[in-house]
């Protein structure tokens, strides 16, 4: 059936649960592009007959044209949604993506990600006069100044704002300022203990 493969791509998007990025489906994309090419060539050949006055081929041309359009739309939707997914991860993980995510990205997506990183960094630097504001901090409304955290892995020494150095050892618990350890919590080094 026409545009079946493109629909598969959309189904793949739908199946993807939040927070993961499936491998870039290069094979299927190539197949869709080939289908577009075939449809286009068929149309070009038939168009000659139509020009000669055979009006019964017009319906076929239109159907193929709709197929091309649909393929294109599904393909762009697939690519665009992947970008959105990657963008969400940028906010979650910071400027360096985990290796397994990176492995599933295609070369162009890596390029796009780097570009996006640069744009975002430039923008955040330009906020205010005193060297910018990190928008990826303060993701949740602050409830209290200090939070109780537990270390999930050995992270080494960590210097707090007032100059005290603490050792983040696995399974140790600390009472830290929320603004300082927020990114460590998101990276999974610390765990916020909710009482």
């Amino acid at each position: 059936m026409l545009a079946e493969k493109a629909l598969d791509l959309i189904r793949e998007l739908k199946r993807t649960s939040g927070g993961t990025l499936p491998p870039f489906n290069e094979d299927k994309i190539r197949q869709v592009l080939e289908e577009v090419q075939t449809l286009f060539e068929q149309n070009r050949d038939t168009a000659k007959y139509a020009a000669e006055g055979q009006h019964d081929v017009l319906a076929a041309i239109q159907l193929r044209h709709a197929g091309i359009q649909r393929n294109k739309r599904c393909l762009l939707a697939y690519l665009y949604n992947r970008l959105e997914n990657i963008r969400r991860m940028r906010w979650e993980f910071g400027s360096v993506l985990p290796a397994d995510v990176k492995y599933n990205m295609c070369e162009h997506e890596v390029q796009w990600f780097n570009q996006y990183n640069r744009l975002l960094a430039n923008y955040m630097r330009s906020i205010g006069e005193s060297g910018g504001l990190d928008l990826t901090q303060d993701m949740k409304p602050p409830k209290s100044l200090y939070v109780l955290v537990r270390c999930l892995m050995d992270h080494g020494e960590f210097e707090t704002q007032d100059g005290t150095v603490i050792l983040l050892k696995k399974n140790s618990q600390h009472y830290l300022m929320r603004s300082e350890c927020e990114h460590l919590i998101r990276q999974g080094v610390l765990e916020h203990i909710v009482q």
Binding site: Q37, E41, W112, Y123, G128, L135, P141, M177
Partner: protein
């Protein structure tokens, strides 16, 4: 904790923090909070309030300087730190919401900005505009490189109109009226219903479609809640 509480707390501290600006700093913060909520709940991008953001960022720096003059262990430090955290959250959340909208509605906001270019009331700050343009370009390049380049020429031209994501202006919003406004056209005349006109009184709260009241949100006549 409700926003109301946060607001009140903030007002107090900023108040005794900056005595010479006691009249303005709380007002600025209040305005910023209103802008933040409006931005959060409106489906479309609203004009940027960069002066409010910059003013509050300066306030934060001033407060931090004040804190550093206090002795270590002074209980006021933690109170002020908390306020700084709260203000910073409001600012970053405000800018984040804007960025998210710019990213999803890129083409749309760029067109809107083009329309407003000459007026005073710009939609985006220069930095945001640069970001929007860069983002638009990078997405288009990606789509071109991965898919469009491999299609036959005729099909490959990207149609801006087809690709643009438009905000859903018909989505419903909660709103609170700040100024008495009369004769607001809430519903246009259709085939089977007459037009609906309402008078807004200060303090009223409504749920209605965003589109008819979009201009009021911009002028500050109503605020979204």
């Amino acid at each position: 904790m409700s926003t109301e509480d946060v607001g009140d707390d903030l007002l107090e501290t900023v108040d005794d923090e900056e005595e010479e600006e006691a009249m303005t700093a709380p007002e600025v913060l209040h305005k910023l909070e209103e802008a933040w909520l409006n931005e959060k709940f409106s489906p479309d991008l609203l004009p940027v309030k960069s002066n409010l953001v910059e003013c509050m960022l300066d306030q934060i720096v001033a407060m931090e300087n004040n804190i550093s003059t206090l002795k270590k262990g002074d209980f006021r430090i933690s109170v002020h730190r908390m306020e700084i955290d709260r203000i910073r959250y409001v600012i970053s959340s405000y800018l984040r919401h804007r960025l998210a909208k710019i990213e999803s509605l890129t083409t749309h906001v760029l067109q809107e900005e083009e329309k407003r270019r000459d007026s005073e009331n710009v939609l985006m700050s220069p930095a945001e505009l640069e970001f929007a343009k860069g983002y638009c370009n990078s997405v288009m390049t990606h789509l071109t490189n991965t898919a469009l380049d491999h299609m036959p020429l005729k099909a490959a031209t990207p149609n801006a109109k087809e690709i643009a994501v438009l905000p859903n202006l018909d989505s419903y919003v909660f709103l609170k009226v700040n100024e008495n406004t009369e004769n607001v056209l809430v519903e246009e005349e259709t085939v089977d219903a007459r037009e609906e006109i309402m008078d807004f009184e200060k303090g009223d709260q409504h749920i209605m479609r965003y589109k008819p009241i979009a201009s009021l949100v911009e002028s500050g006549g109503v605020s979204l809640i």
